[in-house]
Amino acid sequence: MTEVVVTGLGATTPLGGDVASTWEGLVAGRSGVVALTEEWAQELPSRIAAQLVVDPSEVLPRVRLRRLDRSEQIALIASQQAWDDAGLSDDLDKERLGVVFGSGIGGALTLLEQDDILEEKGPRRVSPFTVPMLMPNGPAAVVGLEFGAQAGVHAPTSACATSAEAISWAADMIRAGRADVAVAGGSEAVIGGLPMAGFASMKAMSTRNDEPERASRPWDADRDGFVMGEGAGALVLERREHAEARGARIYAVVAGSGLTSDGFDIVQPDPECNGGGRAMRAAIRQAGIDRKDVGHVNAHATSTPVGDMAEIKGVKREIGEHPVLTGTKSMTGHLLGGAGAVESIATIMALVEGVIPPTINLENPDPELDLDVAANEARKVDLVAAMNTGFGFGGHNAAILFTKP
C-alpha cells in the first residue's frame, strides 16, 4: 500500500509565528491566552482569547492583506512555511499537487465588516473581494493558487475536527493515486464579537476573565469551557517514494486515520465517545500496528466539562490505559478549524523529539481522570506512534495516527 509521509511543517499560533517558536512555547508550558482589552469585547461573557503573536501584517505585503480574510492570510503563511520546510520548488509537477485545507467558520469577520459597509455606505462600497474573502473554501483556494496546485483543491468543514479531517483527506488523496504531494491543514481567525457571543450563549466558553492564563484547563475539576484562539497549521504530505527520490527529510508517517460521525447531537459530545472511539480504532486498524504502540495522544481536550472526560473513556476503551495524554489547548486556546493541524504538528514533534508538551493548569484533576496526563511539565518519552484527535460540532470525529519514519 502507498505510504504517506510528512515532509514539511508550518504554523502561526498564539505561541509563535512559526513551528519552532510554537514548539518551544508548548514544551515550556507557556499560555498564549490574554485579556481582550478592545471595546467591542467588554460586554462579552468571555473576554479572553489566544491571539496570534505575529500579526499577518508583519509577514504579508499590504495589498495582499487587503484582499484576504485573516483566516486566508494565516493559511497562506503557514502553508508557505511548510512548503519551504519541505524543500519543494516550482519544478514540482503541479498536476500531481493537491491541497486540502479547511476552516471551521471561514471569513465571518469579513462578512460582518462588509455588512457594516453595506448598511452605512451602500452596496457600491462593498468590496469586490468580499465573496472570495468569506467563502469557506477561501483558505484552500488561496493556498492552492499560491502553489499552482492542479490535482484538486478541497475544503473540508467539520467545525473543530476540520483540519484533522483535512490531513486524513490529503493522505487518502495520495493513497488513491490522485496526487504525489498535498498541502494539508486548517486555519481560523474569528476572535470577534459575534462568534464569541454565539459560543458564549451556548455556555461553551470559559468566563475566567480575571485569569486569562489559567482559563484553559483541560481535565481540571475547575474547567469551565474553552478559550477562543486563532491560528493556522499546515503539513506537507507526500508519497514516500516521491519524498525519498528527492531526498526530503521525513518527519513521520501518516500511518492511519479514522473519520466517523456521532449521529448523536448537533453540539453535545456523545458522553461515551462512541464515535470518537471508532475513529481511533479505525486509525489503528489502518496503520496495522498494535494499539499498545500508541504511546501518546494529543487529545481534543478543549476544557469543556463534558467533552474532556468523554474522550478519556474513548481512549481507555480503544487504545488502553498506557498512553500519555496531553491537551495543548491549555496553552494555545482552541484554534477551531486550525486545531487539528497545529495539534498534529505538536504530535509529530513529540514523536520526533521524544518530548510530550504539558497540559498546563491541571492543578486539581477531575476525580474521574484515571489516565496519565503530562500535567504541567513536559514529559520525555520514547515514542513509536502517537495520535491526534479532533471532534467538532455536528458530531464529526477524526483521529490521525503518526508513526516514526
Partner: protein
Amino acid sequence: MAELSRDEIREGLADILEEVAGVNPDDVADGKSFTEDLDVDSLAMVEVVVAAEEKFGVKIPDDEVANLKTVGDAVSYIEKG
C-alpha cells in the same frame, strides 16, 4: 471641492492605486493603461473607482468605467467632474 489641476488629480489617483493595488506612484502617468501597464485587474479597478468617487466627489457610472483605459482617461473624466 476646489478645482483640482490635472497634476493634483493624477497624484490623488496614484495614492489610490498604491493603496488598493500596490502600484508604484512613479509608474502612474497619463499614457499608462490600467490593465496592461499597471496590472490593475477588474476587481481592483472596482475598488479604484469607488475610492476615486469618494476622493474627488464625482460619479463614475459602471458603463463609463469601460472607457477609462488609461490614467489619462481617468484624469480627464474626473477633471470634467
